[in-house]
């Protein structure tokens, strides 16, 4: 349904060219939930912004394709014009953001914001817009939708705002939803309700979801497949179960070991040493994890291009000596 | 020290406009310091034999109705005009910073009293207020400075108040309290330095206004009195001669005045980049 191939993105800055993404590959099947997991600076948000066509002006796609196919359209998202992308956004693919309160217009009633989206993207008669918006509010399990329709974002809690964002994003029944850290900043119990809601809605609507998060444990609970990113590279992508039972990339293994978990003792919590490489450097190593890897072997790992191999049909690893 | 120098060079080199503004500022500053020494003629000696001569090699900017060299008068006036502006801005900056920081930091009654006083001040048309102050206090250079400082006070107080207000509850202010800093020390060493970069833009823009204000007061006959060389008076005196074709009397002092204001307006952003450590890499 969505197939990202060899996507590379660069940012031109005062201090040099930042190679933010290099040869990113992944795909999303209809109805599937794919998690993109990585630490800050791994390029997971850049990936989402690139797909949505809302990349910062300093950013440039230097290579790659992002083929998007739904029942209605089949396009390369990176080649579409701004006007046709605007048409696609909302109707075919939609995005929800990390901080719902800043993504909502603070001086407009939330119900009106939903009708605004409906007016742009659907051919409902104006009289039905309000009804449909109320229906959307109810579908994201907002208690007392009629009252909340008239609320302003500041009057609502973070969890409610995020549910409004979900209602906005789903108003036009997109085929693909990109959720960029949808629960960061929310409480754990609220996180549970929001994630369960997303999961149920996706299942109901047969909608594919890309969940971008820094929380490996969260991704493990809600995703069918996980793409692990590090410093602009996809280091490993595999079905959730095999990724956790048998991580093949050293970074994935270390990330799992560094995440606090109910049954992990303090001694088992292993930090990841080293720092992210400088993505502006001219002599960036082909393997961007090499500076943090204990298995690094300069003869083998220094080779260009980085070896990307499928260890199983659905298990890709970018490493010369996988675990 | 070397990093500061390197950074200065970077800021100036990166942006042509900033470079031009700094160059112009340097020229003005030099003129203010050396003006009387390097002026080709005395600014006050009259010579009716050469009155109202148009610009020539001997008198680049021409001569005025009393035969004084316009170029020399413009050069000598720089010190006075810039001096008034610098002192007025410095005065309102110091007083405004104090009032604004107190109002923003303490809030409550302190804030209410200071803000209402400032609002009252702002209810007057500012230039008229300045005219009234000079007229009431008497025509002297000190009083022009006081009047100019007074009408700029609301700007500084309000801007600093709002900048302090947003930082008052920042983590580093709480941290400063935890490490044993009292209120005054927090205001002086923790809050104020963080507000400074923003203020530099205002100070610079304000310099331009202050120059215009001082010149304006002199132009309408308040403030500095003839025969002192001052841009505002020169424009005022020259204005009467424009109709009869002696344009250079008003044009040259007016142009220098404009350049000075322009220079300070451009300087602001460059100064902020210089003073803000976050701009250094």
């Amino acid at each position: 349904m969505l197939s990202v191939e060899d996507l590379s993105v660069e940012f031109r800055t005062r201090a040099g060219v930042v190679k933010a993404l290099e040869a990113v590959n992944f795909s999303v099947q209809p109805g599937e939930t794919v998690g993109i997991v990585g630490e800050s600076g791994s390029g997971k948000s850049v990936t989402a912004f690139t797909l949505m066509g809302v990349l910062d002006r300093a950013g440039q796609v230097t290579a790659g394709r992002a083929l998007f196919q739904s029942n209605r359209v089949a396009v390369d998202l990176l080649k579409e014009s701004e006007s046709s992308l605007r048409q696609l956004r909302g109707q075919e693919l939609s995005m929800i953001f990390q901080n719902p309160r800043t993504a909502l217009n603070p001086i407009r009633q939330v119900g009106k914001q939903i009708t605004d989206v409906l007016r742009c993207h659907s051919d409902l008669p104006p009289a039905d817009l309000r009804l449909k918006a109320l229906e959307m509010l109810a579908s994201v399990r907002i208690p007392d939708p009629v009252k909340r329709y008239e609320a302003y974002p500041y009057e609502l809690s973070g969890g409610l705002c995020q549910r409004i964002m979900i209602a906005l994003a789903l108003a036009c029944s997109p085929e693909l939803l990109i959720a960029d850290e949808p629960t960061t900043g929310l409480d754990v119990t609220t996180q549970t309700t929001v994630m369960n809601l997303l999961k149920d809605l996706a299942a109901q609507r047969q909608m594919a979801t890309v969940l971008i998060t820094h929380d490996l444990a969260l991704a493990s609970e809600y995703c069918d497949r996980i793409v692990v990113m590090h410093a602009g590279h996809v280091v490993e992508s595999a079905p959730t179960h095999s990724l956790f039972s048998q991580p093949r990339h050293p970074y994935t293994a270390k990330l799992i070991a560094a995440t606090p978990e109910p049954h992990k003792s303090f001694a088992e919590l292993m930090p990841i040493g080293g720092n992210l490489p400088d993505l502006k450097a001219m002599d960036l190593a082909p393997c961007r994890f090499s500076t943090r890897c204990d298995r690094f072997d300069s003869a083998l790992c220094g080779q260009t291009p980085l070896k990307r191999a499928a260890l199983a049909p659905d298990h890709q690893v970018a490493c010369w000596q996988p675990l | 020290m070397t990093t500061t120098l390197k950074h200065t060079r970077y800021v100036i080199g990166e942006n042509l406009i900033t470079f031009a503004a700094f160059a112009l500022f340097l020229a003005l500053a030099l003129m203010a310091i050396l003006g009387p020494a390097i002026a080709p003629y005395s600014p006050l000696t009259t010579n009716s034999a050469i009155a109202l001569q148009s610009p020539s090699l001997a008198h680049w900017f021409g001569t005025d109705q009393l035969g004084r060299d316009v170029l020399s008068r413009v050069m000598v006036a720089t010190r006075l005009d810039l001096g008034i502006a610098v002192l007025a801005v410095a005065l309102s900056f110091v007083v405004g910073s104090f009032l604004g920081t107190c109002a923003g930091y303490f809030g409550g009654w302190t804030d209410r009293i200071i803000s209402r006083c400032i609002d009252t001040l702002m209810a007057f048309p500012l230039f008229v207020l300045a005219m009234g102050l000079v007229a009431a206090l008497g025509n002297s250079i000190e009083n022009i400075i006081y009047a100019t400082a007074m009408i700029n006070l609301p700007l500084y107080t309000r801007v600093i108040r709002s900048e302090v207000l947003v930082r008052r509850s920042a983590g580093f202010v709480e941290a400063a309290r935890l490490t044993g800093n009292g209120d005054w020390r927090i205001m002086a060493y923790h809050l104020f330095p963080n507000v400074l970069p923003v203020m530099m833009v205002h100070v610079s823009l304000n310099m331009g206004w202050a120059i215009l204000n001082a010149a304006g007061l002199s132009f309408i006959g308040l403030g500095v009195q003839p025969p002192t060389a001052e841009w505002g008076i020169m424009v005022a005196e020259g204005a009467t001669y424009i109709v009869s074709g002696e344009w250079w009397l008003a044009l040259f002092p007016g142009a220098v005045l404009m350049l000075a204001v322009f220079c300070f307006n451009l300087l602001g952003d460059g100064l902020r980049d210089l003073i803000d450590p976050r701009m250094r890499t």
Binding site: V188, A217, A258 | R177, L178, P193
Partner: protein
């Protein structure tokens, strides 16, 4: 339902005098004319010397207010704070920077960026508490001390001259910790010290905090919304909900046998790699902390066990086992017993 057993309350083992004792602490913020926000409501607890106490709760539950009361950044509305047998709550927050206890009671902030003065180099930030609160003023001693602190928190010496914007998130967190331990505090309050950090850095900082505690013999009050982190570092934990402590007890016991329905939901909501029973959803919206009804349990309306009694009588904290207290009419184990 079995009767709660009050005799446990007297069965507490004999303990040395507590380092920090908080009694019936309240903080009320006025909202508008008549309304009052009860941020912290009748909170009592103790911290023993050398103990690590965890404080868990969601945003808006009053944990930030509580630690600002304890670290004396805020004035209390009522109640007492005793630290080292001295009554601190009567000293105004504004006067406290001059108190002799200021140095012993320090805080590590949540956001390492926001809590560092952008105009202070790392050196100046770490040296600030020593300059202000320590009699030792010799420049060389100061430099040696800052170097030692940087070494303890694993901050390379050559980064000391840098400004916050030139440091990474983990380095900034280290500067913040170095500043807080500069005066050998007896109690270090940690306000979500790792929530702004990446997992890889979080693990490093957690290990650093554990090492520092051993080296300096401090007590920790560790505040977090992340139970996984609390579990790793703390001996005992307090669970807070809308201004009240709803459960307190040894960390293992709370994890394995949560008694309060809120604690239970919180624990079940922790994401984990292993498959586990479906998390308990707390449906409905939280009650408002503004002018709360004094007789209604704060969780009522969201609680899966709520009954009429919960909106008639406010449940009080009661001991149900040595050291383990819960404020609920229908605690989990009691309900389980009644089903048997």
């Amino acid at each position: 339902m079995t009767q709660l057993q009050p005799h446990f309350a007297n069965a507490l083992p004999h303990l040395p005098p507590p380092l920090l004792r908080v009694e019936n602490l309240c903080k009320v913020f006025p909202v508008g004319k008549a309304a009052q926000l009860h941020a912290v409501d009748q909170v009592s607890f103790q911290i023993q010397p050398g103990e690590s106490l965890g404080l868990v709760g969601e945003s808006g539950c009053g944990k930030s207010t509580l630690i600002r009361l304890i670290t004396r950044l805020l004035d209390v509305t009522s109640g007492e704070i005793y630290f080292d047998d001295a009554l601190l709550s009567t000293t105004a927050a504004r006067q406290f920077p001059r108190s002799q206890h200021r140095a012993s009671l320090q805080l590590v902030f949540q956001d390492p960026t926001d809590s560092l003065n952008p105009r202070f180099s790392a050196y100046d930030t770490i040296a600030d508490p020593i300059r202000r609160l320590s009699p030792q003023q010799d420049k060389q001693q100061l430099q040696a001390r800052v170097a030692e602190l940087a070494d303890w928190v694993g901050l390379p010496q050559d980064l000391l001259s840098r400004f916050p914007h030139q440091l990474s998130g983990g380095q900034k967190a280290r500067v913040g910790i170095a500043r807080a331990i500069a005066l050998n505090p007896k109690l270090l309050v940690l306000d979500e010290p790792t929530s702004a950090l990446d997992v890889s850095v979080q693990a490093v900082i957690l290990h650093l905090l554990a090492d520092l505690k051993q080296r300096l013999g401090m007590s920790y009050l560790f505040v977090s919304h992340d139970l996984n982190v609390i579990r790793l570092l703390c001996d005992r934990v307090l669970v807070m909900y809308l201004g009240k402590i709803v459960e307190s007890g040894p960390v293992d016991q709370i994890f394995s046998h949560p008694q309060h329905p809120y604690t239970e939901a919180l624990i079940s909501a922790i994401p984990s790699f292993e498959s586990k029973p479906h998390p308990i959803a707390l449906t409905g919206e939280p009650r408002s902390p503004i002018n709360p009804a004094p007789q209604v349990c704060r969780l009522y309306g969201r609680c899966p066990r709520g009954e009429d009694r919960c909106q008639q009588v406010m449940p009080e904290l009661q001991a149900i086992a040595p050291n383990h207290q819960v404020a609920c009419h229908f605690p989990v184990s009691a309900a389980a017993d009644s089903r048997d």
